[in-house]
Every structure is written in C-alpha cells, then in structure tokens.
C-alpha cells in the first residue's frame, strides 16, 4: 500500500472513532452527573460537547493527501467520512446542551 493510502486509511477510521469515543464520554458524563448530582452538570456536558467536536473539526479540515500528491479514491473517501463524522457529531451531541439530563 502506498504512503498516500496508508495515511488515508488511518484518516478514514479516525473521524468515526473520535465520534464514538465522544459519544461514550458524553453518555458517561450524563449518567455520572445525574447519579452524583453534580452542581455544574450542564456546564460539564457543554464543555465535553465542545471538546468532542474540536478533533472532529480538525479531522474534517485535514487534507488526506500532502501538497503535490495525487488524490486517490481512499483519500477522497477519508475526507468525506471525516466531514460526515463532524456533521454527525454536531447533530447527535448537540441535545446534551439543552434537553433534560436527569429525571
């Protein structure tokens, strides 16, 4: 496998891996905050949302090929997969910032 495709393969899985880690982290913080009645629960959830989105934004902006290298199918797929991961992150994580967290 060429160096371009090796890099693209890593980037292909990176976006949704970060997304899934962010999802689990938000889920855990929501549950722990309710169980231990954290006074700053909402602020923590908003902060975790932002922290989860930052690497997704970075990945969505990162070009899978370096200057002068030709784009491959894998590199184009990686770029759009990471943009999809960012869009999914915005859509799925956003409700923790405003809907009821605990009963």
């Amino acid at each position: 496998m060429s160096g371009v495709n090796q890099r693209a393969l890593v980037l292909l899985v990176a976006g949704f891996t970060v997304w899934s880690v962010g999802f689990v982290a938000l889920y855990a913080l929501q549950a722990l905050g309710c169980a231990y009645e954290w006074p700053q629960h909402r602020a923590i959830l908003i902060g975790a949302d932002v922290v989860s989105l930052l690497p997704l934004i970075w990945l969505a902006m990162m070009k899978p090929v370096r200057e002068g290298e030709p784009a491959t199918s894998l590199s184009v797929t990686a770029l759009w997969a990471n943009r999809a991961a960012l869009a999914s992150g915005v859509l799925v994580f956003l409700p923790v910032t405003f809907v009821s967290a605990c009963i």
Binding site: L91, P95, V99, S100, I103
Partner: protein, 210 residues
C-alpha cells in the same frame, strides 16, 4: 385485521391521557415517515422496472447525494426533533400533586399511597385529570412498569427508585404489564389500574385510612 391491534387494554395506540397521547403521536409520525420513504422507494423501483429510460439521465453521484444525503438528513432531523420535543413533555419535572410508591417482585406489583392510605388490593388507584408520579422500585430482579394507555415505561431496579408520570383523562379501568423479562411468570405479571374522579379518589383514600 391489521388495525385490530391498534386498540385494546394494552394498546399504546389507544391513549387515554396526554402522556400516552404524546407517545402515540410520535409512533404515528414515525410510521408516516417510514411509509412515505417506503412508497417513494417503491415508486422509483417501479419506474426503474417499467420505464428504465426515465431514470437513465440521473448519474450515480446524483443518486448517492440525493438518496444518501438530501433525502434522509431532513427526515432524520425532523424525527429527532419531534422525539425530543414530545419526550421532554413526558418527564416528571417538579412535584406532581400525588406520588404513589410502586414495588415490583416476581411476579406481582404492590402500591403504597401517601400516609399509608389507600387500599392494599394490588390495584393502582389514581385520580383523573392530574399528573401522578409513580416511584418505582423492585424487591428482586429488574422489572419494567408500563401502563400503555396512560404513559411510557420505566425500569424497576432493586435498590433504586425511578419516577414516571402518568395521567388519565377519564375514570375507568386500565391495565399495566411488566415490560422487562423477569422470569417464568413474566407474561402474567399484569396489574390493574383504576382511575377515579378526584372526589371519588379522595373518598377512597379517606375510607381506606379509617
């Protein structure tokens, strides 16, 4: 014949209160969305089969963008939004006028009323026209409290109390069912719910307390 399943004592599609109505509304929205998408795909399938020339001008990229992004994203956003709005209205925010303790065990339910009032007959008695909180727990394994015509469901967990809010519009008999498999007697773990007019409920509580 299909619609026969939409009514009956344990039908969530035959709501008898505002909270169950929310859930039924969400179910119908989901069904409508699914039916619309299914019909659209079937129409495209029919055109592709009967008049293949009509679709030949659409490029593979247009199919991917249209069918994979433009079509599902607005529908998913709308369905998620509807679920969030309707779901928020189900939550027991603040204190309800009445809180009843509900305890599950294999394979029966028992209910306790404020101040030890109320009959101990295994029936959940509640007033109509006002929200009622049910504080649910379990003596043994995990069960799930569910009165389909009055509200959603919530787990009954040993050592933990979960609260669910129900509301009945009209006096009558409703039925609940354990909604989490809990052993051999699970399917028979039903309970009766009797909703009374507020004055009748007050009289029942006063009578049982004497």
């Amino acid at each position: 014949m299909l619609l026969a399943g939409c009514s009956g004592e344990l039908s969530a599609l035959d709501p008898a209160g505002p909270r169950a109505a929310n859930l039924a509304t969400l179910w119908w929205i989901m069904l409508g969305g699914a039916a619309l998408l299914f019909a659209l795909v079937m129409v495209l399938f029919g055109i592709a089969y009967l008049r293949p020339g009509c679709l030949s001008r659409i490029t593979p990229m247009q199919w991917i963008v249209g069918g994979g992004l433009v079509l599902p994203i607005p529908i998913l956003v709308l369905l998620t939004g509807a679920a969030l709005v309707l779901g928020e209205q189900l939550l027991p925010k603040g204190d309800a006028p009445l809180r009843i303790e509900g305890q599950a065990r294999q394979w029966a339910w028992s209910f306790g009323y404020p101040g030890g009032a109320g009959p101990d007959d295994g029936t959940l008695h509640m007033p109509t026209g006002e929200p009622v909180d049910i504080a649910v727990t379990s003596e043994d394994v995990i069960h799930s409290f569910w009165v389909p015509r009055l509200g959603g469901k919530i787990d009954a967990i040993p050592g933990h109390v979960n609260v669910i809010r129900l509301e009945a519009d009209e006096p009558g008999i409703y039925w609940g069912q354990c909604a989490e498999y809990c052993g051999q007697g699970h399917d028979g773990m039903q309970f009766r719910v009797e909703a009374h007019a507020p004055e009748d409920f007050a009289a029942l509580m006063a009578g049982a307390a004497q």
